[in-house]
Subunit: 219 residues, 2 copies
Amino acid sequence: MPRGAIAIVGGTGHQGRGIAQRLAAAGRSVVVASRDPRRAADLIAAWPQGAGALSSASYAEAIAGADITVLAVPFDTVDRLLQEHRAAFKANTLVIDITVPLMFTGGTATLATVPEGSAAEYIRARLRPDVRLAATFKTVPAHLLAEIEQPLDCDEFVCGDSAEARSEAVTLLSAMRGVRAIDVGPLVRARSIEHLTLLAVAVNGRHKIRSARFRVVGL
Amino acid sequence: MPRGAIAIVGGTGHQGRGIAQRLAAAGRSVVVASRDPRRAADLIAAWPQGAGALSSASYAEAIAGADITVLAVPFDTVDRLLQEHRAAFKANTLVIDITVPLMFTGGTATLATVPEGSAAEYIRARLRPDVRLAATFKTVPAHLLAEIEQPLDCDEFVCGDSAEARSEAVTLLSAMRGVRAIDVGPLVRARSIEHLTLLAVAVNGRHKIRSARFRVVGL
C-alpha cells in the first residue's frame, strides 16, 4: 500500500463512496475497504478516473496498511469492528471518525446517549493509545458527498486528541472542493458537532429539504 | 402597557439591551425590565430613538403587562426569577428563552447538565401550563446584538412547545435586520441549539475572533 494511503472502512456505503471519490479526485491514494472486497472492486470500476489511485481491500488488509483510516460505518457497528481490528492499526495511524449516533424514536430524531459523552470519545476508548483520532465530516449529507461534481459548499468542524491529529484532518478535508475545515479543539467538542447533525436533520425534516449544512459567519 | 408589548427581563444586560433596541427599531413596543427600573430608564434615555416605543419597568410590572416576555437573564438566575413571578404572567403569554447554561471549567467551556435536557426544557418545567414557550437567540453574540447599526447576518434557530409559539417567535426575529429565523420544531431541539452556542464559543476561542455565528446552507 502506498505511503499516505487512506483506507475508507465502509467505503461502499453512502458516505464512504463520496469521501473515497472526492479524496481520489484530490490526488490521494484511497483504499475502498469492504467486508466484500469484490463488491468494492466492482464499484470502483464504475467510478470516473480521478487524479489519485483507487483500490479495494478487505477491512483487515486496508487497516493494516493505511496511514489514515476513515471509519465510514454505522455507529452501532463500530464496537465490533474495533474489537476485531484493534491490533491491526499501524502505530501512530490517524483514525477519522465520521459517525453520528442518530436514532429515530417515533419519527423523531435524537442522539443516543453515549457513556463516554460522544461517538468520538466512545471510539477513542476503543482504540489503542498509540493510534490517534480526529472526528469530522459528521454533518455533510451523505447524498451530497456522493454527488462528486458538486462542491460541498459548507464548513466542517474538526476535533481531535492532539493538535497534530486535527491538523492532518484539516489538511485532508481542505483538499476537497468547497469545504472549509474548522478546528474546534479537543475531542470533547465532538458532542456539539453531533448535535449540529441532529439540527441539520431537524431542518431537513421540517422544511422538506435534503441538504441542510452549515457555514460559520465571522471567521 | 400597549397591546403586543414585549418585556425584556434583564433588559439592561448585554443581550437584553441589544434585543430591546433592535425590536424598538423594528417598530415594536418594548419594556426594558430591570430589578432597578431607574437604571433602565437612564439607559433608555441614552439610546437613539427607534420607530417603536421604549419604556422601563420593574420585573413584576413588565411581566404582568407583557404579551411576550424575553428572558434575557443568566441561566443560573432563572429558577429564582420564575419562582418569584410564576403567577404574574398573563394567561397565554409567550415566553422566549435565550439562555445557555455555559460553564467554564479550567478554561474550557462546557454546557451544564440539566436534568430536563436543556435550559429551555428546564424553564418549561417552571412555567405555568397556560404560558407558552419558545427558545431562540441562543447563539448570536451579545456584543454583536448591541451594535445596533450592524445587521446580524446570521440564522437563528427557533424551537417551541407549539407551532403557534414558534411562529410568533419567528415573526419577532424576522423583524430584525439580517436575521433569518429557522423553525426546528419542538422544545427537545433546544439542546442542539445550546450546543451550537458552545461550538461558536470554541471557534471564537481557538481562532481569536469574537463573532462566530451560523448560516444554514441549502435552505
